[in-house]
């Protein structure tokens, strides 16, 4: 009857966004008059469960088995579904990460439960859970209710605050066996390359994005460059955007126009056919602010725009703007912020 929170692990450490799910679960558990059970699979699950205890979980169910070390949907869903069937939790809550999405959707089918995804606000009245989320690429708010016996909800990252950490808290941990053995799992992971993982726009507290304006690099492209525009824009991301991002500990974003023009890989795209982000600070440089881009970043807490064109729509949704050439403004801003931040 508890409220389950799925705590994600990666190579033996917790994914910190999962603490936000514990924060979101607290008022839900209170409304149902119950406590929170952290569900942790994979390497180091016991230590991670104890960490979950300091963030508000009263109990934990863990499974440390080699089949669960690298996330695969089949063994994870089989085990989560079995635990839901055995324990009949009021709710299962996870963050809408790559894995959280498919795991929760699959277990909801297995247990014939309703699932609402990417909640930005939650409440419960003892029967159902009411969820606010967005639809139509962030253009419309949708209010939904789920009231099946177990209610599955994923939350959008950076939308809920974690519970205050209590180092003295203890947790009641129980260990279970996996449901599937290795030869019952059809999917095999052949290799893994962490390079693109460095982009990580979803967790970023600060994002510095460059758009079509990246092409106005005053530097001359070398004579042997295949495409001079692409060279200029790429050089701009490397020499103007990235240094500012490094100073701020920020992720690098881009507009669709920049991605489609081949200036930067797709992993960086923010907007309707890219990532939907909500950082504390979003710096948009050389981005005009098409409605498709706004859909993916308008929920950022503070937006700063730098654009040559004072009429660009991005300024209308920005708190602060500088009308000017990003190739002049960003390096100067970087030097100024380095001084302020003592870097």
């Amino acid at each position: 009857m508890s409220v389950f929170v799925f705590v994600e692990t990666f190579e033996g450490t917790a994914n910190n966004v999962s603490w936000e799910a514990l924060g979101a679960a607290k008022p839900i558990a209170d409304a149902f008059g119950t406590d929170i059970t952290a569900v942790v699979f994979g390497k180091n699950a016991n230590a991670i469960a104890n960490e979950a205890g300091t963030f508000g979980a009263a109990k934990a169910i863990i499974c440390e088995d080699a089949t669960l070390d690298v996330f695969r949907l089949e063994p994870y869903a089989a085990l989560l579904s079995q635990l839901v069937q055995e324990h009949k939790p009021e709710a299962v809550i996870a963050v809408a990460t790559n894995r959280g999405r498919e795991l929760m959707a699959s277990s909801a089918v297995d247990t014939n439960s309703g699932l609402i995804t990417e909640a930005t606000d939650l409440s419960a009245d003892g029967n159902g859970i009411q969820v606010t989320r967005t639809a139509y690429a962030g253009k419309v708010l949708q209010e939904m209710t789920v009231s099946t016996d177990t209610k599955f909800v994923t939350i959008r990252g950076r939308s809920f605050a974690p519970n205050e950490k209590d180092e003295a808290a203890t947790i009641d941990v129980s260990s279970v066996e996996p449901v599937l053995s290795e030869d019952e799992i059809a999917v095999k992971v052949e290799s893994f390359d962490a390079e693109v993982g460095k982009v990580n726009l979803n967790d970023a507290a600060i994002i510095v994005s460059g758009g079509r304006g990246m092409v106005n690099n005053p530097k001359d492209a070398p004579a042997d460059a295949d495409d001079k525009e692409i060279w200029k824009a790429k050089d701009g991301y490397a020499t103007v955007i990235q240094p500012l991002a490094d100073t701020l500990g920020a992720a690098v974003g881009a507009s669709r126009a920049a991605v489609d023009a081949g200036y930067i890989p797709y992993e960086h795209q923010v907007g309707q056919t890219g990532k939907n982000v909500n950082p504390d600070l979003y710096i948009a440089a050389g981005i005009s602010g098409a409605i498709q881009h706004q859909a993916g970043m308008r929920n950022s807490k503070l937006i700063v725009a730098i654009n040559k064109d004072g009429e660009a729509p991005i300024f209308k949704i920005s708190r602060y703007g500088i009308v000017g050439d990003l190739y002049h403004v960003l390096p100067a801003l970087n030097e100024e912020l380095k001084k302020r931040l003592g870097k």
Partner: protein
Amino acid sequence: MHIVTFTRSTPDTAAKVEVDGSGAVTWGDAATVVNPWDEYSLEETIRQADAVGGDSTVIAVGDELHSDSLKHSLAMGIKNAVRVNADGLDVTDSLQWATLAAAAVNNIEDAQVVIFGKEHVDVGSDQATYQTARKLGWTMLSYVSEILELDAEAGTIKVEKTLEQGKQIITAKLPVVMSVLKGINEPRYPSFIGIRKANKATIPEWTPSDLSVELPANSTNTDAYKNPPARDVSSEIIDGADVAEKVAKLADKLMEEKVL
């Protein structure tokens, strides 16, 4: 082998979508387009079906609105199209949607691969994709950025997945359901002849009884749509004699706002 894909009609990406006085979602006179993520899954379906010498079918689950996206898919080069509809279907309820979607796939002979786009922009979710795979009992391969090998004879597939933490190379046995990412291919534009042919096509409609399933009860309920609160921004353009003064002022503001 038969490769199956899904699509739906969604408002043009540049359309202003809002909630009207009656609480309905509207996009005025704006046209609908193929769900933007589906351009890539449609293209990949055409390519993979060609590569294995197989058949291809596109399915839409929902009302008449979605016929346009099916015609667009045919014009691109998908060989067959079908629309699945049911009285009382709530397309925002993923379990209902996935029940019909899975039943439709089961109704197609020799279907072994289903390809979805990354998400459905109207309902703002991808959950129905995973739930269709689960209803079918097939292996789910999500976030596929490249299909490295589809071996119809051996019944195996090898793909590259792009996840938050990095890229994975995965092998699995058919049948599989996939979701593919933008960038997996360069979607084609429908040809003039393709459009003419598609416009003449009659698209069959399947009902739950044709598929021998019953529409399950709602597992979730959409209570209301609302317009997001207007973004409370008083925009301030930072002035100054030169760039140095402007960035110094901006840095002051950012320190004050405590976002650094």
